[in-house]
Amino acid sequence: MNDSGESSTSVPAFNNRDPVYLQVVRHFKVDIATGKLKAGQTIPSRRELAARMNINPNTAQKAYKEMEDQGLIVTEGNAPSKVTSDERVLGAVKDELVAESVAAFVASVRGIGLPSEDLLRIVKRAYEAVMSGDKEGQP
Amino acid sequence: MNRYLKLVVMELHRFWKIYAALMLLTFLSQFGGLFLTLRSYLTEVKGRMYAESLYDYAAYAEKHGPESFYTMTSRMEPWFTAPVLLCIAALLFYVFMIWYRDWFGKNPFVYRMLMLPTSRMNLYWAKLTAIMVFVLGLVGWQLVLFPLHMALYRSMLPAELAVTQSVESFIHHHSVFQTLIPQTFTEFVLYYGAGLMTVTVLFTSVLIERSYRFKGIAGGLVYAAASLFAMLAPQLVNDGIGFELYPWETFLLLVVIGAVLLALSLGISRYLLIRKITV
């Protein structure tokens, strides 16, 4: 029942086979790692999140509990929850996501069997092209 | 206002259009019929006066006699009694419809009715009350109409031709009205008590049908037939077995049987509404 349109978190497309609350947690991690959510930033209430993501409030609750347990967000008293300012945790989120993606990448190119220097060169070129493209694209 | 009264008001409200139509119809049929009858009677009187060279109404009255309000109404049957019989038939039909209408339609109201946070017997009492109010209301309406009709009778007829008759004596002589409007309080209690009992028996039959559906149709019919048989039993004993009962014994027996049927109907209805009814 919440119509507020502007949001710092977009609506993710969930898959039905992984626990929804873990998908929510992962969604937050991505937003934190990509800077959409900044250290110390207030995040939507559990109820707003449920409405925005079309999930049931219990699931939202569970996701927040998980994020609190992992130290991603902090809640003091009745104040709204905030993204942690703990650089160690934030850094770990980036490392974790990168490690996850690299693992997936490695798994998929493994069969091709390129020497690692060649592979790294290709990755480097592609990565730099994308990054410079991003910069030119900005006004 | 408690929930029972609210339900009564709602039941009255749900039928008021048809009810008002019945009242209007009764009025139009009786009043209009009487008006036309009186007019044609006067034409007839004048015709005869001319033919028989009678110079005034007094002379006519002397020769042919005046006509009472009662004879006027009997001249205009069925316009006078038919609407009354129609009202009775409509109410009898509504004894069934007051229940069935809740189940009918694409949005059956019975879901809501049975889910009201009140004893389901309140639904029952409200429907029973509504039926009794409808009956008494129509009788009352008729009692309002009689003086009106009589006023029409007196105003249209020349004094020489009119006969003064009281409403009571008219009712007392009329075959239908003498039952509908009893002269004594005891009769009133007996007649309307019997009517009330009949309605509860019919309600019970409906609820048996609504609870057991297909099998319930047979059950409902059996219950109604058994009740009728019970009420006829004293008479059957008298006629059939030749076991003579004094009239007051028969009467007392009828009252007792009626009371037992009333209690039984209420008990069965209560059980069905609370335990067996199905949407």
């Binding site: 029942m1 919440n2 | 059956p108 879901y111």
Partner: protein, 229 residues
């Protein structure tokens, strides 16, 4: 908690519920899933005392059903049970008249949210609007439980979305919800617990997140297993 304990229901020779036992907790959304005729609606009606069981029993917070149920559990059937001549406003008045736990404030909020017109007659409402008004009647009662029979069935996409948003809101927070559906599709993420019915029997009863966690299966995966077997 709402419990069905070995509930059996027969219509003549046909058995609609067969020794059916299940539970629905307060604070959770429990979804009864099954094809038409699986016994979903009959189970809801039996819980509400709208049809008698042939065997077994229903318990609500440990107590058997009685008239107190109607202030504790709200039922939204698959039709809007109001006389066609009533207006939307009349129907709200009616609810407020009879239910001591009627929440008029919430009713008027929902009226705005669902964009319903108070002067419309029940008989003139579209299917979607009738479903919304029906839901409004049920949700505006301050009850511990809400039962809904096919709240998404046969209505347009936008109405469906509006109704789905009810499940993610504070309207049902803390309450126990049982809803029925014959297709889980778009509401898979909304529910806590799934009860798969087939021919009047419970074939599977599980918590959705636990199922995803432990077996990596979606509700639809489990349905495939159960109904294809």
């Amino acid at each position: 908690m709402i419990e069905a304990v070995r509930a059996t229901k027969k219509f003549g020779r046909k058995t609609v519920l067969r020794n059916l036992s299940m539970t629905a907790e307060k604070g959770q959304i429990t979804c009864l899933i099954g094809i038409n005729g699986a016994g979903k609606s009959t189970l809801l009606k039996a819980i509400m005392g709208l049809t008698p069981l042939s065997g077994g029993q229903i318990r609500i917070d440990g107590a058997p059903i009685g008239k107190a149920v109607y202030e504790k559990v709200a039922f939204v059937p698959d039709t809007l049970p109001m006389p066609p001549s009533m207006t939307v406003a009349d129907s709200l008045q009616f609810m407020g008249d009879y239910y001591s736990n009627w929440n008029a404030k919430r009713a008027s909020d929902l009226l705005v949210f669902f964009r319903l017109n108070v002067s419309d007659r029940i008989s003139s409402l579209s299917k979607g609007n009738a479903a919304k008004l029906n839901l409004l009647h049920g949700l505006s009662l301050d009850t511990d439980y809400v039962l809904m029979d096919e709240p998404f069935s046969g209505i347009d996409l936008f109405s469906r979305e509006q109704i789905a948003s009810v499940f993610t809101s504070d309207l049902i927070e803390g309450r126990g919800v049982i809803l029925t559906t014959h297709e889980i599709g778009e509401i898979e993420h909304l529910i806590d617990k799934a009860v798969l019915l087939d021919q009047g029997e419970v074939r599977r009863e599980f918590m959705c997140e636990e199922m995803r966690m432990a077996e990596g299966k979606s509700v639809i995966d489990v349905m495939r297993e159960v109904y294809r077997a």
